[in-house]
Symmetry: C2
Subunit: 203 residues, 2 copies
């Protein structure tokens, strides 16, 4: 069987396994709650051995959170690609709203439930934010470059990146609890606008 395909035949399979594990972990955790899911179960669901699970992820929480973090990394990438002349907040708003705009499809019920779970179980929150911190550092670097500040010395890039993270988290949390579903990009824009306006007391 000379199924000679692209060079990344092996790579692709690894990526598939990773996806399968992450997805299985999320699905099972949604169904039963994180505490009642064993690594054994996740591995079985993905069709690999328990030992293999830990070759891909170093904890259950990391597996569950991986997809969401992947999204956040994409925000950074998008931000890098915005024209340097564009005002900072405009660029950020664009990058964030684009990333979290799932086309026309309303929030997939399964996905929504999953994220809701994440923000509920504090162990997952922690894992999510731990990864988010890494992303924030990237964002800070991009901001530093754009504004001509020094990410290593000035407070500004750090603070701005942290504030953006705060906006994304707040908007997401708000999104999860609005029953008549509001589009996430809209909430994101509101949050970022409020930030840029200095968080004036409402009313």
């Amino acid at each position: 069987m000379t199924t000679s395909r692209a060079p990344g035949h092996r790579e692709r399979k690894k990526q598939q396994t990773r996806e399968a594990l992450s997805w299985a972990a999320l699905r099972l955790a949604v169904e039963r709650g994180l505490g009642d899911v064993l690594v054994e179960d996740i591995a079985a669901e993905a069709g690999v051995s328990p030992r293999t699970f830990n070759n891909y992820f170093s904890s259950k929480a990391e597996a569950i959170v991986w997809r969401q973090l992947d999204r956040l990394h994409r925000v950074t990438d998008l931000l890098r690609e915005r024209p340097p002349a564009e005002p900072l907040w405009e660029a950020v708003t664009h990058a964030a709203t684009t990333t979290f705009d799932h086309g026309e499809s309303l929030p997939d019920q399964q996905w929504t439930t999953g994220v809701r779970l994440m923000l509920g179980e504090s162990e997952l929150q922690a894992e999510l934010i731990r990864g988010g911190a890494a992303v924030e550092r990237e964002v800070a670097a991009v901001i530093a470059e754009r504004t001509g500040t020094d990410a290593g010395r000035d407070l500004y890039p750090l603070l701005a990146a942290a504030a953006i993270g705060a906006a994304i988290r707040s908007a997401t949390e708000q999104w999860l609890r609005t029953d008549p579903p509001v589009p996430l990009p809209t909430l994101l824009r509101d949050a970022l606008d409020a930030l840029a306006a200095g968080l004036p007391a409402p009313e």
Copy 2:
């Protein structure tokens, strides 16, 4: 021995044990790195059994982070006590700077090292922020009350609380890496001022 003191004789001893455990955990982690500290060691250091450690803290990380979180809770308390008429950002700035103002004493070397460790080891970061999330909810509630918004429905209190958290974290991180030590309250004020001004791009 009729050493009959205040009613909280028992309580005080528990609190002492808790302090001892948290401090021991922090000290050992600073010396050897978190990975090379066993619960057994911490318990020994504090003069209790290993099992008792877990009666006070449900993980090593929780023990180490406890003191810092205690500080954050105090910010909330202070904020509650500020006069309701005072503008929000003024009240927040006051509460935060007061809490982190260690009088004249320059940053205790030991303490500084400890905090630096925290922000280095990502497991501790995560634990710190997990606890911080609880505090943020409290802060959001206070803000909601002050501004007449609904913490359960409006985005504002959530966002403002998250932004304040971001400011505190950024200022702390900045504080840790400025070699000619700058007073933390000053950095905090800078960060909060920048937030209130809408994070204008510098220069």
